[in-house]
């Protein structure tokens, strides 16, 4: 390049920069939010070469790790002109490695400032190469816009493939295996007859009293197993506890009413209550309609139960399962008629409401422990023990992690990242 040419390009470059700066200030002032590059380039005297951005560099293509194949990640170094506002986008182009240079196809675009695109349309059996086009726009005096591009060098060859193990989840697997092993180990210990201690849970101790109270008063027990379907583990925990409550109700000959908001929960809960009545030796007292469906609608369900509560004034109310905003609407109505109320949920946002409006509340994991607690079944108690040891390990990991991270010895938290598939 001659020194004259150098001067011309330096001057034109400086001019463009000035124009861009001016346009940026204008754009900020007016708040148009239009692309700065576009505004700047609407000047008629600017030639294509003057606005052509420097190309992106070091384009690297790599099979997306830990996925089901069909995907290649393409990364590059930004064009030096990106920061100057001379790039509006990057187009990523691909061709099978054996085809000629002219066979490129755009597979994705990234905004200025971005340096990665994932090609999700790759075929596992093919080998590809990529190039990245840094694109700027030139607005002609006629108002037409034409893209001005510069291409990077081609990338390395890359081929997508599916993996048989997601290495990003190794930590999850290790923790899962440890916790699972502990639970199964203590279940085994319990089976062998080892006595296991379980602390008192006030809410569950009160179940007998609550059922007894309804019997004394000659009023109903209402049992609400949450508002979610059977695929929710809290609902499963809820209907499991229902079995114990139903058995007590059958023994005390107290009326039980289970309004539900999902058809599948109705079917399941019915089976459970029926079996409980049979186990209590009172199959004749069981009526199918003890468990009945109201509506799937969240607030329709809450309204229906509130109406029933106000009219029938049950002595005892159980709320066991997954609840959302209807929790307080139900519990406060129950409170207003003076019912004894026991709630249990693993929805952290609803716990304060239940604590405020109910006599007893099972907090989170206590809901899941309830079945074991009420049945005193050794195998179930064993699983609780295993779970508690697991919790101890978690606590230790937190303490160790806080120390290591605080002292800056190692990025402990990074061990627990679960990255993309």
């Amino acid at each position: 390049m001659t020194s004259n040419k150098l001067k011309v390009s330096t001057v034109s470059f400086a001019l463009v920069l000035l124009l861009i700066a001016g346009a940026r200030a204008y754009s900020q002032e007016t708040g148009t939010g239009e692309s700065q590059a576009q505004s700047a380039l609407s000047m008629p005297q600017v030639s294509e070469d003057a606005v052509r951005p420097a190309p992106a560099a070091e384009v690297v293509a790599q099979d997306t790790p830990n996925d089901n194949g069909g995907s290649i990640q393409v990364r590059w170094q930004l064009s030096p002109d990106d920061k100057k506002g001379m790039v509006v986008r990057y187009d990523v182009e691909r061709r099978p490695a054996w085809l000629s240079e002219t066979e490129y196809k755009v597979i994705g675009s990234a905004s200025a400032g971005s340096s990665q695109v994932t090609d999700n349309y790759a075929e596992d059996r093919l080998i590809y190469v990529y190039r990245v086009a840094a694109v700027n726009l030139l607005v002609r005096s006629s108002g037409d816009t034409i893209p001005v591009t510069s291409y990077s060098a081609i990338s390395n060859e890359a081929q997508s493939s599916a993996q048989w193990f997601n290495t990003d989840r190794t930590v999850v697997l290790i923790v899962g295996v440890i916790v699972g092993f502990l639970i199964i180990y203590y279940i085994g210990q319990a089976k062998k007859g080892k006595a296991l201690f379980i602390r008192k849970i006030a809410g569950l101790e009160a179940v007998d009293e609550a059922v007894g109270r309804a019997t004394e008063m000659g009023r109903k027990i209402f049992y609400i197993p949450g508002t979610q379907d059977m695929e929710n583990i809290q609902t499963i925990a809820g209907v499991t506890i229902l079995g114990r409550v139903a058995k007590l109700a059958a023994e005390y000959e107290t009326k039980l009413d289970v309004p539900v908001s999902r058809s599948l929960v109705m079917v399941t809960a019915r089976e459970i209550v029926k079996e409980a009545y049979m186990n209590a030796g009172r199959p004749d007292s069981f009526q199918e309609d003890m468990v009945h469906y109201l509506t799937d609608d969240q607030f329709g369900y809450a309204a229906a139960i509130d109406g029933m509560v106000v009219r029938e004034k049950p002595a005892t109310m159980f709320y066991m399962g997954a609840f959302y905003a209807e929790s307080l609407i139900l519990a406060e109505t129950g409170n207003s008629i003076g019912a004894i109320q026991i709630a249990g949920t693993a929805m952290p946002a609803q716990l304060p409401f239940f604590v405020a409006a109910c006599d007893y509340t099972l907090i989170g994991e206590e809901l899941f422990a309830a079945s074991a607690y009420l049945s005193k079944e050794p195998k179930l108690l064993g699983s609780l023990k295993g779970q508690d040891i697991g919790k101890g390990l978690f606590l230790m990991a937190i303490v160790v992690g806080v120390v290591i991270q605080t002292l800056g010895i190692y990025d402990f938290a990074s061990l627990f990242n679960i990255a993309a598939e």
């Binding site: 089976e271 079945s371 779970q387």
Partner: protein, 218 residues
């Protein structure tokens, strides 16, 4: 066999769900979607069980003139009104202008919103009852609740908004601190407990130790 088949299905589906989390390769990556599709199809069909049960009980209640049978009349009328409006609307019954949409916008929506709005009143009465400085823990809860309630709305701006150029916001800062640290710590502790409880319950179900959800004893 009545008990064994459901247990086998539970175990197989449970194990497949766990395994697919670690194996991205086909066919494992499709299993979760496949099983969840099946569940939703079954649940969608089962809606009839519930809807017909509601209708049956309501009609019986009217026939036998049970206590508060008048409410059952409202259920039956509403049931048929919505069903007929939906059927008359054809395939596009949810598009604007149909009878179903009119009922949805003008009856269902206000009724639902009203129920949700009741929460504001119940929060007030529950707070009045629950926030008593009975002991140290209750006092801490009371003070924290008090500060968060003030910090979450415009008290800062109304009380201190005119101090300095941009005003100061001590209540918001205290409220943010409570939400971001003590509240967060408690939430996380509860969430870890819940996660472990979920794992434990799931394992009990997959291993067939917990069977009472299938009906009957263990």
């Amino acid at each position: 066999m009545r008990r064994e088949i459901p247990l086998i299905i539970t175990a197989v589906v449970g194990i497949v769900f766990v395994v697919q989390y670690f194996i991205p390769h086909t066919p494992f990556n499709r299993f979760q979607e496949l099983f969840s599709d099946w569940f939703f199809i079954i649940a969608a069909c089962a809606i009839w069980l519930g809807a017909l049960n509601l209708l049956k009980l309501s009609i019986i209640s009217i026939q036998k003139k049970r206590r508060d049978w008048q409410y059952a009349v409202i259920i039956v009328v509403s049931w048929f009104t919505m069903a007929i409006a939906g059927i008359l609307g054809g395939r596009d019954f949810q598009t604007p202008g149909t009878g179903f949409t009119w009922l949805y916008d003008n009856i269902y929506t206000p009724l639902s919103a009203t129920m949700f709005a009741i929460l504001a009143f119940f929060v007030a009465s529950a707070s009045y009852r629950a926030f008593r400085a009975r002991n140290i823990q209750a006092t801490l809860l009371l003070v924290a609740g008090f500060l968060v309630m003030m910090g979450r709305v415009l008290f800062d701006d109304l009380l201190f908004g005119s101090i300095g150029e941009e005003g100061i916001k001590p209540l918001s800062e205290i409220s943010d601190f409570i939400m971001n640290y003590p509240n967060l710590a408690g939430q996380r502790a509860i969430m870890i407990g819940i996660a472990l409880g979920t794992v434990s319950t799931a394992l009990r179900i997959i291993l067939g130790i917990e069977r009472s959800y299938l009906g009957g004893g263990d």
